[in-house]
């Protein structure tokens, strides 16, 4: 565990005007769903690319290897968990 993580405590997730604590769900997608935030998904295994969102701030750790081309600020919510406090933006459609 990095020093940064210890000092920050439980990661906070910010989406739009909503902020909540990460409850150590298996993936970021699961934590969004636990808060009843509509997040896109299909395969839940990192290969379809449907769950792509923009990471505006913070860092995430991947729990599995994705197979989708991502831009620098894009992450796949189904196969990552927050490492620090993060802010994400879910695409409109």
């Amino acid at each position: 565990m990095s020093d940064k993580k210890i000092s920050m405590g439980i990661p906070r997730i910010k989406v739009g005007n909503q902020t909540f604590y990460y409850q150590y769900e298996p993936s970021l997608l699961d934590s969004l769903e636990a808060q009843e935030i509509q997040a896109p998904y299909n395969c839940r295994s990192g290969y379809c690319g449907c769950c792509k969102v923009r990471l505006l701030e913070g860092e995430v750790t991947y729990t599995d290897e994705g197979m989708v081309d991502l831009k620098e600020d894009e992450i796949l919510t189904c196969i990552c968990v927050p490492e620090t406090h993060i802010e994400i933006e879910i695409p409109d459609d």
């Binding site: 699961d30 299909n42 839940r44 295994s45 290969y47 379809c48 449907c50 290897e65 409109d92 459609d93």
Partner: protein, 359 residues
Amino acid sequence: MFFGQNVNVARYDKQKYPIFEKLIEKQLSFFWRPEEVDLSTDRKDFINMPEHEKHIFLSNLKYQTLLDSVQGRSPNVAFLPIVSIPELETWLETWAFSETVHSRSYTHIIRNIVNDPSVIFDEIVTNPEITKRAESVTKLYDELIHLISVQNVHGFGVHTINDQEFDCTLWNLKCKVYLTMVSVNVLEAIRFYVSFACSFAFAERAIMEGNAKIIKLIARDEALHLTGTQSILNILASGSDDAEFKKVAIACREEAIALFAEAAEQEKEWAVYLFKNGSMIGLNAQILSDYVEYITNVRLKSVGFDEIFPARQNPLPWMNAWLSSDNVQVAPQESEISSYLVGQIDSSLEDGDFDDFDF
């Protein structure tokens, strides 16, 4: 990736595009057989269905059979002779093989619900609504296969054989490869998903659930295949593999978008045909057409094209649950878990893995 040096030794120690190896491994770990799924209650469900729902179910199944018949052989015939990296070659073979499993599934399903399966299979080639679409899914494959055979015998250049002209210049062949790949993407990413929507709509009402379980496995494979074709298209269009393909992608852009538009129109017509005798709970021609527009937009965006339909929310949000590969299930012994990985070994080792290990 295409038209380069011969593939020669099938070696995977040096890979230009590791994505294909990842796809192969994932596909192999997905291996399944239709016989694993129990269809005994489906027969009862089918017999109790009203006639118009039988029409929807069977027509949809016939169309799926047709699509997988094409996909089970065409990638091998069309792309293998011209592929030039072993990892892509093996991915094409792995991909086509999984389609043959899908084809066998349809026979398994049809055999289970009707007494004489050959009536259903024969109709696939006589029903004008199906053959009309068969033409457009095979047209580009056929043209490419034809040109490659001529090129194999006569070399690159424009050839006239029996008063027919064949443009086998490298440029035209590359255009055909690019467009064929787009048409494959359209087939797997749009046409298939429209048919999946119908299959899952039955299971949402708790009927034909065995069928839906098989289609769910097929959908899981198709999601992987479409990631494959999207990667190929994006690599080709980026020019990182072959600078000329970048020009090809730009030159063929309009034609490629037209392929998406044409498929969307045909799928909407198909929706009208499916529901001509009546709709079913949860699905009708209008909702399915809306889904066609939604999914076409999503797929266009994935390969870097602009959307051609007005932006909208997913009209069939329940589809997502059917399209997920179940990796979140915690107690596999409680039901069949479709993401159970066959032959999965994690052999990666980091330098620090034994740091907290004391003797």
